[in-house]
Each structure stands twice: as structure tokens, then as C-alpha cells.
Symmetry: C2
Subunit: 174 residues, 2 copies
């Protein structure tokens, strides 16, 4: 049997809809609901600097909605790839157990053996990485897939393959 | 400037003295204090099977003593290697934040960027790995250093360099 390729999948911005959380807290703080257009091409820190404190609070990560289509496609990918979920988490220590609980709830087919919570991802090796941040993809030695999010919109795509949603990922990898 | 080598260091059994914890809980449960001789060459699960439940409890990891010499030597290694602490943790979800707190307390020079909490370590890449388990070292592509613990005593050393304490590590890597 041919060895399965190792697929590394990010959480925030790929499985977990953190933009929804940022928009919710921004509106809670200011009464203003930003449009997607206003977010385009701007970093999360630039737009949501005043909401950064919520990243250290309970529930920011735990209550994040699931990105559309991710559950169904990831369950299929889990059958034909050696799948790992790799999430930057140690910057926000309370997020560690929240993120594991979130995965257990929304992606019950992912076992504890397939979870990695880290600070930076340069230490991760695999064949394919799906992530929404250049800072992670740029240091990865395998195939790199950029998941579109407002902050990376319009950026030069360099050596990465851009996907706009989980249907694009299914078409590419299944 | 020459690029620093990436050094991957395990926590349990290399920095954190989990045997002390197992022995403490074994004595608490049975009144029997095992001698080091009785542990030699036997897996932790074989000897401490009845104490395995404590791995899921608060304080097992948080209160583990620090292995002698590790703080001083690791602080020096941190200056000349690209250091990451990589710990199997997701099997025991409550251990995630406990382990980060433990590192912050005993190894304050280690930043959140240098911490990785995972299930299995095959996904980690680096130049040198220090670990007390063959299951981790055997899959690592770089130089491998086996830290002596009772469970690996007497095992064939295969391709790994055995060290008995942190002075041995200092002599090898500093």
C-alpha cells in the first residue's frame, strides 16, 4: 500500500471562523458592523486591534462558528491523507483546552493523536499545508495551499495555490 | 552568521520528573514505595497501570518536580540552538495549560513561540531530538539522544546516543 501523504490543516481562518468572532466583538464594543469590503487586504490586528483582548478571554475560540463545508470535506480527507490539525495556540494559553474541545465537538473523527498546538509552525513537517497565513506557508517545505481570508486578499500569491472555500480544497485534494 | 541547529526537547521524563509523581501516587494508593531497581526495564504502564487515572487529574503534570540540572543546561542551550519544547499532551487535555504554566514557572526563558503540545511527534522536524521514548526518537530524521529513564533501561540503543543526565547533555551539545 502506498504511504499516505501527510496533510497539515490550520484551525483559525480555515476550520474556525474567527472573523465572525472579531466582527461580533467589534460590534459589541462600538456598535459598528464592518462590511467584508472594509476588511479586505488589511491585517486582523489593524482592523481588530481593540478587540485583541478577547483572544485571551474564554469563549473567543470555543464559540467560533465552523467554516462552511469544512466538516464534510475534512472527514473525507481524513480517510485518504495522514491528517494533522496544527494550530497556533500557546500565545493564548486558555485557548489550548478550548481548541481541543472545539475540535472534539465539531470534528469528532479527529483524534488527540492528530492535534498539534504550537507557537510557530516552522517546526512542522508534512507534504501539504493548508493555512490562511503567509507566515506559516512560506516556511513549509511541501505543497502550500492559501485559504482566502480578508487579510490575505490581494496579496501576491507567490508560490502558494489559492483556494476560496472547502469546495476548492475538495476539487484539489480529493 | 551560521544558522542555529534546531533542538527538540521532550518534557516528561527529560525536564519533568514524572516518575516521582507516579511513585508518589503508587505509595498513596498502596502504601508501597517501589525502589528504582523494581522499575528498571519495565514500561510505565506496566508498573503504574493503576495510577494511570492520575494522568487525567489536575496536578499530576503541574506539580511534577524538575529534573536535576535541566534548568541551567537548557538556559545555555537556548542561547546557541533554535530550541523547541515538544510534549505529548493532547491525550490528557487538562495537561495542556498545566504544562504551559509549568514551563513558564520553571523555564521562564522559554517563550510561547518555543512550545509545542501534540499527540504524536512524527510531525516534528529538527536537527536534534532529546527524548526518553524510542517511539519518538525512532521516527525522527535528525540526531537522536535517548535520555535514560527506568522504562528504557537495558533496551537496545539502536541508532540513538544515550545520556544519563543533563551533565551528559551539556558535554555533548555545549
Amino acid at each position: 500500500m502506498q504511504q499516505q501523504k501527510r496533510l497539515i490543516v490550520d484551525m483559525d481562518g480555515v476550520l474556525a471562523d474567527v472573523y465572525s468572532q472579531f466582527l461580533y466583538f467589534k460590534e459589541k464594543d462600538t456598535g459598528i458592523r464592518l462590511s467584508t469590503q472594509e476588511l479586505m487586504g488589511k491585517s486582523e490586528a489593524d482592523i481588530f486591534g481593540d478587540q485583541w483582548k478577547y483572544l485571551y478571554s474564554k469563549a473567543f475560540f470555543r464559540d467560533a462558528p465552523v467554516i462552511e463545508g469544512s466538516q464534510k470535506v475534512l472527514e473525507q480527507l481524513n480517510k485518504c491523507y495522514e491528517l494533522f490539525i496544527v494550530s497556533s495556540a500557546t500565545e493564548f494559553p486558555q485557548s489550548l483546552t478550548e481548541k481541543q474541545e472545539w475540535l472534539n465537538e465539531h470534528f469528532p473523527f479527529i483524534t488527540w493523536k492528530q492535534m498539534v498546538f504550537c507557537g510557530i509552525k516552522t517546526v512542522i513537517k508534512g507534504d501539504i499545508m493548508i493555512d490562511d497565513h503567509y507566515k506559516n506557508l512560506d516556511y513549509f517545505s511541501g505543497q502550500t495551499i492559501l485559504f482566502t481570508q480578508p487579510h490575505n486578499y490581494g496579496s501576491p500569491e507567490k508560490q502558494h495555490t489559492r483556494v476560496n472555500n472547502w469546495s476548492d480544497i475538495a476539487a484539489l485534494l480529493l
